[in-house]
């Protein structure tokens, strides 16, 4: 890459970004190459519904050699590596390996155009600098440039509100108040802001609190505050590859909160004002009153069977009963088992027991298996959701409903099988505490804490983890896990983890 071909334009980045964002509605947009040296636009050509780019433009930007062979094929070469494209074919050969494109190359006059995906699927594998195509935002990141994707969500919390700003990959940020704005400065080279740029915050839900969120410059966002804004509190926490910044904004106290519908039972004494209602987004519980422990499998579903004859369904029930006895006896916390005998309980019913009893914590107990007999160690799983699932959960919206005693409350509507999305941060915290308590007391797997799309966790409307005690397919592990010493150590670790988690929730609630 020729450094001089990308003049440094950081001073103009804000204007360029604004133009880029504004131009999203004008077809066709351009693809912005972003490198350490600056920015450079490449024109996008529309063919049908597909976005294409000229091979000659790519050749100029990336020093490629493009040849149209006499037999019709088009070869694109870079430092001895070759891409072979064929007109009317969506398959291409990249250094001998087949890849698929969403559309075949198209001739436009004297030039050839290829789908944008050509960059990520064909060019990136042979190019010696990292190419990261961000198609939704029409960005092409070239080389080691830190450009986190930014997503902003606003959730009304009664009279207050919460801004959740995710930066992926992680980027630290600082939040400062400057007059009627909050300024969020990210530690990054640039920001990848989606199209449409930033959704308007829920101004209908919290009128006069937050007016807008907008891009200020290459690495800065601003939150425009409304007249009712009284203060804010921010905290950042890593979640996988994302740095999640949560800004809670609170409103100045006012004498009335407009209610669009008549509040029921207005004559009840002591009815709370709407502004005093608890927030709607299932905030961290200040205490743990109920825990649901789920012994995996049961009945004709025996789960894993060990070489020595141990059955997963029996061990999980045995351990779950011990956990219940210790936690109820020492902490006075109610512990519900999803089954207390040898029967098959459907997965949804297990979760329903926890949800219907408003449990504050869900712990599913299982034993692992591997076709490699040497696999060993305990592991803790939290739920994993892909971006589409999060989008579904986030787009489900809220409904304002009257509450008993007067006032209104925003009720979040989340699909049953995505309930865990609201609690994933707390689940991760509990998993980390569990790992610390297990370490040194029971053998751990190489990756003690992991995420996976596990059915029993996804519908849990509370912090939830699935614990694999160890591998029953490993004879040594089977012998260990069936012993009292192991089970006692495990139960003690669970007990201590619950105490620490309860304390952490209480501390968070007082801050």
């Amino acid at each position: 890459m020729n450094a001089r071909s990308f003049p440094f334009l950081s001073a103009l980045f804000s204007l360029a970004l604004a133009i880029s964002l504004l131009s999203q509605s004008a077809a066709p947009p351009s693809l912005t190459l972003l490198s350490k040296d600056g920015r450079r636009p490449l024109p996008i050509v529309m063919a049908g519904d597909q976005e294409f780019i000229g091979l000659d433009d790519l050749a100029g930007a990336f020093q490629l050699a493009v040849h149209e062979e006499s037999f019709g094929a088009i070869t694109v070469s870079y430092k001895g590596k070759t891409i072979v494209l064929t007109p009317d074919q969506t398959l291409a050969s990249v250094s001998g390996r087949l890849i698929s494109l969403p559309a075949p190359p198209v001739r436009r006059g004297a030039r050839w155009i290829v789908p944008l995906e050509f960059i990520s699927r064909a060019l990136a594998p042979i190019y010696d600098v990292r190419l990261d195509l961000r198609k939704p935002s029409h960005l092409l990141i070239v080389g080691d440039v830190h450009v986190p994707r930014i997503t902003v969500r606003y959730d009304p919390l009664g009279a207050a509100g919460r801004l959740t700003i995710d930066a992926t990959p992680r980027a630290n940020s600082t939040v400062t108040q400057e007059g009627e704005h909050l300024t969020i400065k990210f530690d990054a080279d640039a920001l990848d802001v989606p199209n449409p740029p930033l959704p308007p915050p829920g101004s209908q839900s919290s009128p006069g609190l937050v007016q807008a969120v907008r891009v200020v410059d290459a690495t800065t966002l601003a939150v425009d505050l409304g007249p009712r804004f009284a203060g804010f509190r921010s905290a950042a926490q890593p979640v996988d590859t994302t740095m999640r910044l949560v800004i809670d904004v609170v409103a100045a106290q006012t004498e009335t909160t407009p209610a669009p519908q008549p509040a029921p039972a207005p004559d009840l004494p002591g009815a709370p004002a709407p502004s005093e209602l608890p927030p709607a987004l299932n905030p961290p519980s200040a205490s743990i009153r109920t825990i649901t422990v789920d012994p995996g499998h049961g009945g004709d579903d025996e789960g894993v069977k060990g070489a020595g004859g141990a059955k997963e369904k029996d061990l999980t029930l045995s351990v779950a009963r011990r956990v219940k006895a210790v936690i109820e006896g020492r902490l006075g916390i109610r512990v519900l088992l999803t089954r207390d005998d040898d029967r098959n309980v459907p997965i949804d019913e297990r979760t329903a027991i926890a949800n219907n009893n408003k449990a504050d914590l869900f712990i599913s107990v299982h034993l692992n298996a591997s076709r490699r007999r040497s696999a060993s160690g305990a592991s803790i799983f939290c739920s994993a959701f892909d971006g589409a699932a999060h989008a579904t959960a986030d787009s489900s919206g809220a409904e304002r409903l009257p509450t008993f005693g007067g006032g209104l409350r925003d009720i979040e509507l989340v699909p049953w099988d995505l309930a865990q999305t609201r609690h994933i941060d707390q689940s991760t915290t509990f998993a980390a505490i569990l790992e610390q308590q297990f370490r040194g007391h029971i053998p751990l797997a190489d990756t003690p804490v992991d995420r996976a799309p596990l059915r029993v966790l996804e519908s849990s409307n509370m912090p939830a983890v699935l614990i694999e005690l160890g591998y029953l397919t490993n004879a040594d592990q089977e012998k260990l896990i069936t012993g009292d010493a192991f089970q006692n150590a495990f139960v003690q670790a669970i007990y201590e983890a619950v105490v620490r988690f309860r304390d952490a929730l209480a501390e968070a609630a007082t801050q």
Partner: protein, 188 residues
Amino acid sequence: MTARRALAIAGLVAVAMAFVWVIQTAPRWRSTTRAVAPPSPTAPAPPGRKIKARLFYISESGTKLTGIERDVAYAENAAEQAHEIVAAQVDPVAEPLVSALPAGTTLRALFLTDNGQAFVDLSREVVVGHPGGTVSELLTVYTIVNVVTANLPAIRSVQVLVDGKEVDTLAGHVDLRRPLAKNLAWVQ
């Protein structure tokens, strides 16, 4: 231009011509009428025509997958190619390789959608022969998901079907009600 360079270009042109010829002349092996169509003398692809595909097997640790490059029969379009790759993945293997797919599992069908989803229909042995366990089930599922998405980048997600039907899980753990995206975290 040196003779060596000319030779290299000639070789490249020969490979490209063969590629174009195969694309333009190879039949659609897996059309829906394949089972009843009479054998055609032009039906087989050129013998020995292969591509490199990355197949996945259980790692030495038993808790991850490991990728192995294998020659797989070339096919003329993405759907056919995906079928060939998954069929190769499902084939039994000998030690030291260990498959995360239960013995006897076969590929019944494979479909692609226009929006980059694949539906992989496996035989019931993938359920009845499964040993259970969260990690074991994850390795089974991501063997299928990753072998499709890692070898065919146009396919972004995979939904596993069993005996032609959607299933909740294979062994009580991994949610299969939705297509799953590639996850190379399970590959060491």
